[in-house]
Symmetry: C2
Subunit: 200 residues, 2 copies
Amino acid sequence: MRLPTTEYSIALPDWIDDALAGVPAVIDDVEGRMRLVHTLAQRNWREGNGGPFAALVAESDSGRIVSVGVNVVLASGVSSAHAEVTALALAQRVVGDWDLGGEGRADHELVVNWRPCVQCYGAVLWSGVRRLVVAGSGPELEQLTGFDEGPMREDWAAQFQARGIAVLDGVLRDGALETFAAYRDAVATDGITVYNARRG
Amino acid sequence: MRLPTTEYSIALPDWIDDALAGVPAVIDDVEGRMRLVHTLAQRNWREGNGGPFAALVAESDSGRIVSVGVNVVLASGVSSAHAEVTALALAQRVVGDWDLGGEGRADHELVVNWRPCVQCYGAVLWSGVRRLVVAGSGPELEQLTGFDEGPMREDWAAQFQARGIAVLDGVLRDGALETFAAYRDAVATDGITVYNARRG
């Protein structure tokens, strides 16, 4: 057997350069980091790359932005290419290690515009980040967007903490809800594809 | 801000070509598919690419092998590059769609040498495969290898089924346990890195 494909790549969309022009390389408050995430998430689905989700990895203390990610499922044709997976992988490439929490390294955090789906929940667990920052974590994402986030455990946050990952919830929550509501309205009027698991 | 990295790629190791030489492109029984997975998993950790895990995507009815994947966390420097994520992404590239279960498409299955970790559990959910085939699903993996598989829900299999993904468990179970035991022995004697989440 010869395999048709032995390698795949995931790229950020071209408009990211434009979106980051004028954005400082260091954002020293967590609200500022979330504001950037909201901006990228709002633009992402309008550009047709994937869902209304964005993330970034930053050094928690310095505020240096290490990577950003957006959901590129539609653009890449790869169902795992969610914003969190993309941002974490790019950060690991920048740092040169699969473990962002390795010895002697600054603490890294993932900032994302809602609680990750079950896949990205696991991706965060194995990434080495020391903190997860989310705008919210309730059922609003699924209610507004129609996305299935998968079966999560009730103790998801405690399970993070047991592995040395702090959770900061509720940072610029309204901004996330605005993004999801705008996406919902576009799905209703323009027939945008909500790619996801199938039912039964 | 200019990002240092906007793209990453995940490649199968060079030895995969060698390992697949002489393997037919169609394997029409599920045990045969699992046997190939066991062979790749056994070789993967010995080659130093990552953990003792392998996977493949096949068309369930025809037995055509669409892709294979191994855990390349160490080789790629990307913590999400587990065998399942790699095999699913490569299959999606071959098929040309993020949804392996799209209309008019043959049913696809993921064959893997144990129940996926929580990240890959989610990756399977969003992939479009119609069946998950595993050698086993109990605590033996974690007990033997020391890997943390993350917080899974008790109803994980029912949650798959509710989304149209059948689960076939117990296919060549002993082969998986042999792989994990060999890996455990090597960790004990040779100090192989068990990369994973950290504790508290």
